[in-house]
Symmetry: C2
Subunit: 203 residues, 2 copies
């Protein structure tokens, strides 16, 4: 088994943090995304979408999409449960994982990809007006998250989950996207400090 | 238990098709999205994101996000399995469900929301340039899907899954988004005809 990894980018990091939380070691094949290595034949023949990460099993089976790779490892190594436990618990993690991804990470990523000069080759065409429109979307979502985190230690309730991984990485991605976490969102700040202090955050 | 439903919109329909495939009946509370009913207090107090569908359990517990609601019912009624079976099967459905959603449905929805005059109040600001940029994104993805469907009856393999539901609804959503399925994508057309002929497609 080997994991084609993409360094600092949010999706490859999601899988590395997930594996660190599970205590699973998978050999990494580093791919230099800065040099567009994810568009080379090595990746294109495994993932027609030319995106990272890509997991390859020993029999050559290929699995792509960060959350799908995480779910594969959750099935093989159920503890600690990072996709929730029980019907409602699993649905609750799915709900928050989706919210973090669709209304937050995607907004931060759109601001970054459509506004940052280094993204010109990646996002064609860059639409700066769309990048700007995403900054208030990300901040509106953070306000809703702050209200929810008043009652819970973690995003989907009392237990750390994949929703916290997506959320932590989205907050970290705000820096290159040039969006600041407002000072008054004290619950978001408390939660982000807490999840960032876990050893997995360095993965 | 009751499901606040939003009629023709893609996400409410995803849950109705899923329930029909499972043979589960849940009382529906119709919400008129055309009259912005999803922004009224009835929904806002249950979902701060003011989106549909919303599931409310008999004890008042609220669950939002179409795929999270589907997963809740999958956990309660595992057969027929619509999220896959086995570790690799479940990961494969997650992979394709994400691909259908992130690279296809979201592109079709962005074209619709940023270009259709009726969406002016929904998508603020509308960015027509971004709407146009999404049309080739949707078509590029469909070409990749067509190649995959040469080898499988359904999107994630030999069995119908939630990825087919998301895909069918995204293809149907191409019509109001004014994007045509190219004639030469014969595998996509064969698959879409087949899933549209299932009784669940009318839900």
């Amino acid at each position: 088994m080997k994991l084609f990894d993409g360094g600092k980018a949010p999706n490859p990091r999601r899988v590395r943090v997930f594996l660190a939380e599970k205590g699973i070691e998978v050999p990494l094949v580093p791919v230099d995304m800065g040099a567009m290595g994810h568009r080379d034949a090595q990746i294109a023949e495994r993932n027609p979408l030319r995106r990272l990460p890509v997991l390859e099993l020993d029999d050559g089976t290929v699995l792509t999409e960060s959350v799908a790779i995480c779910r594969y490892f959750e099935e093989l190594h159920p503890q600690p449960a990072l996709f929730g436990t029980g019907a409602l618990g699993r649905a609750r993690v799915e709900e928050w994982q989706r919210r973090m991804e669709l209304y937050f990470l995607s907004s931060v990523a759109s601001a970054f990809r459509h506004l940052h000069p280094a993204m010109k080759e990646w996002e064609v065409p860059q639409v700066p007006e769309w990048g700007e429109a995403n900054k208030p979307k990300a901040l509106d979502f953070l306000k809703i998250l702050d209200a929810e985190l008043q009652n819970h230690e973690f995003i989907a309730g009392d237990d750390y989950s994949i929703a916290d991984i997506t959320g932590m990485i989205a907050v970290d991605f705000m820096k290159p996207a040039r969006i600041a976490v407002p000072d008054e969102l004290t619950n978001v700040r408390r939660w982000h400090d807490s999840v960032s202090a876990r050893p997995s955050a360095k993965a």
